[in-house]
């Protein structure tokens, strides 16, 4: 694949990286979010501070971590602290500017389900659960959701709200007293969704050569598009070169070349 072609995963990593400003404090997970942060650090945001829920602060790993507790995130970090400090002194304290979230289901209001498909008591599919996602969704100043438009991944309503979006059964974020702004962008493999004034996710950008209909067909509610619908700028040659040759040469998270 030449550098003027790119895979959806590469576009997702680039789109996420563009959302990060230099010097911000990012609560980051494994996979595409981690790639996006490293891409941002290698380009426009060299002073991004990465915090992992495992307690590693300011990590600069010399290998791509398979888990957020990877020893490469510890050796050479600026600080390692206990998890009580991570959640109380960093997250609840309001020090986290950006939190990354993903999930099996994302609904119309940006609520995320990583707990169960079906009934909680006897689920069809038991998912891992919250981990730190519930509190990241509540406390991070803003969150970025990275999730593919696979079948049934974007229902009108999730089976279980693990991480709250803009409007849950209880009400709006403001009514429920959540400090953070919630998911300001949902980065999919075909385009980007953003909340409208009511908190409902609408399509604001499609990736090159993607039609609105291709997105709407994969979303479980009558998806609206913001007018005028933007088209996401493709990755630069530099982005592609960094992703393929430096950041994920084994394509652990970029997946097979499209």
């Amino acid at each position: 694949m030449s550098s003027n072609e790119f895979s959806p995963a590469e576009m997702m990593a680039v789109a996420a990286a563009r959302e990060l400003r230099d010097g911000e404090v990012v609560f980051v997970g494994i996979g595409l979010p981690n790639l996006a942060c490293n891409l941002a650090r290698a380009t426009h945001a060299p002073n991004l501070v990465l915090i992992y829920e495992s307690g590693a602060v300011g990590a600069t790993p010399d290998r791509l971590p398979l888990s957020i507790g990877d020893p490469a995130l510890v050796a050479g970090a600026l600080m390692v602290c206990g998890m009580a400090d991570v959640f109380q002194c960093f997250l609840q304290n309001g020090r986290i500017e950006v939190g990354f979230l993903g999930g099996a289901q994302v609904d119309r209001w940006g609520n995320i389900n990583t707990t169960v498909i079906g009934e909680y008591a006897r689920p069809k599919v038991r998912l891992p659960g919250s981990g730190g996602a519930a509190e990241i969704a509540i406390h991070a100043k803003r969150t970025l959701v990275v999730s593919r438009l696979t079948p049934r991944a974007f229902p009108a309503e999730v089976d279980f709200i693990t991480s709250p979006g803009h409007r849950s059964r209880g009400g709006t974020r403001r009514e429920l007293g959540m400090p953070g702004a919630g998911p300001i962008k949902v980065i999919t493999d075909k385009g980007i969704l953003e909340p409208d004034e009511s908190g409902e996710l609408v399509l604001t950008q499609v990736y090159p050569d993607v039609e609105f209909e291709q997105v709407r067909a994969r979303v479980g509610w009558p998806l609206r598009a913001r007018e005028p619908l933007g088209t996401c700028a493709p990755p630069t040659a530099r982005d592609i070169d960094l992703l393929r040759n430096e950041l994920d040469p084994k394509r652990l998270f970029l997946g097979a070349a499209a």
């Binding site: 020893p71 891992p128 981990g131």
Partner: protein, 301 residues
């Protein structure tokens, strides 16, 4: 002097009983598989197992029928897949498994309350989530100053906590570096504490650098010396995480027969950790840590 030093067999036999609430902590780092395997080998039953991230260690204990309740916040095989024994238990009730589920912050708060011997811990969390709808232990309290409502979780005070660490002395004064997770809180919250170490060191080594000590001997009941006892988890400065095994587990645990075969070969079929290691001759070559020793600091005055 020998102090509290004993074998894993002795430590589990004496301190882990059927029906106990057991914490085996360690966030990716320092997960004590050696202790879990001995618990399985001694066929403990009806344990309430508590871990933020159940990990393979819980999948194995659930498959072996040791666990009747799991207290947790994230049950997966990070980067590699699912915990299929856990999923079978929850999705098909094979075997039955009760769940007491929180988020990471909730679990950390439960252990913090336990360590401080407070009956609850307040946190700003859970608004807008369905987690409290399926867990009545998550409640709320009103701030006596602002009047605002805060979420609460109850203290978690286990019968026994098992901490894997890099080193301790014979009295259980324990030092850890790298990720510390919630090991300190879990140990202080517990009625009994078993410390499992890569290295038993003289008290002098501990006293050289007292800021590294995370557990004082006065709360430790048993010290077990078990090098490589955390494999396939890791010990910073000693050995790397066996990511290949974590990936393999996806295949092993997917098939109940294969999983039972694993337990027969690697747990029931062998007497102890030494036998486990003797079957992994390439482990040291593959995973022994490089040297990356930091400078010391001056405690003089």
């Amino acid at each position: 002097m020998s102090g509290k030093v004993c074998t894993m067999r002795e430590a589990i036999a004496q301190h882990v009983h059927d029906g106990d609430t057991v914490v085996i902590e360690g966030f990716t780092h320092l997960i004590c598989f050696a202790a879990a395997h001995e618990i399985i080998r001694q066929r403990r039953r009806n344990l309430t197992l508590c871990r933020l991230t159940p990990d393979l260690v819980a999948d194995q204990m659930i498959a072996a029928g040791c666990v009747s309740m799991l207290v947790f916040s994230w049950a997966g095989n990070p980067g590699a897949g699912s915990l299929h024994a856990f999923r079978r238990a929850v999705e098909s009730n094979q075997p039955p498994l009760a769940l007491d589920e929180y988020s990471h912050f909730g679990m950390v708060a439960r252990l913090s309350a336990g360590a401080a011997r407070l009956p609850f811990w307040p946190l700003k969390d859970y608004m807008g989530t369905d987690i409290p709808k399926v867990n009545a232990r998550i409640r709320s309290v009103q701030c006596p100053y602002t009047g605002e409502s805060l979420a609460t979780v109850p203290a978690l005070n286990p019968d026994v906590t098992i901490v894997h660490a890099q080193r301790a002395d014979a009295l259980g004064n324990t030092q850890v570096w790298g990720l510390v997770g919630t090991q300190k809180e879990a140990a202080f919250a517990s009625s009994r504490v078993i410390v499992v170490v890569e290295e038993l060191v003289d008290e002098v080594v501990i006293r050289q650098d007292p800021n590294r000590t995370i557990l004082p001997g006065l709360i430790v009941d048993a010290v077990v010396v078990e090098p490589w006892g955390a494999h396939p988890s890791y010990a910073q400065g000693y050995y790397d995480r066996d990511n290949d095994f974590y990936v393999d587990w996806e295949v092993i645990s997917r098939d109940p027969a294969r999983l039972n075969g694993y337990l027969d070969d690697w747990v029931f079929g062998i007497p102890d950790r030494a036998a486990y290691l003797s079957r992994l001759p390439t482990l040291r070559d593959r995973l022994t840590a490089d040297d990356r020793v930091c400078a010391g600091v001056n405690y003089g005055y």
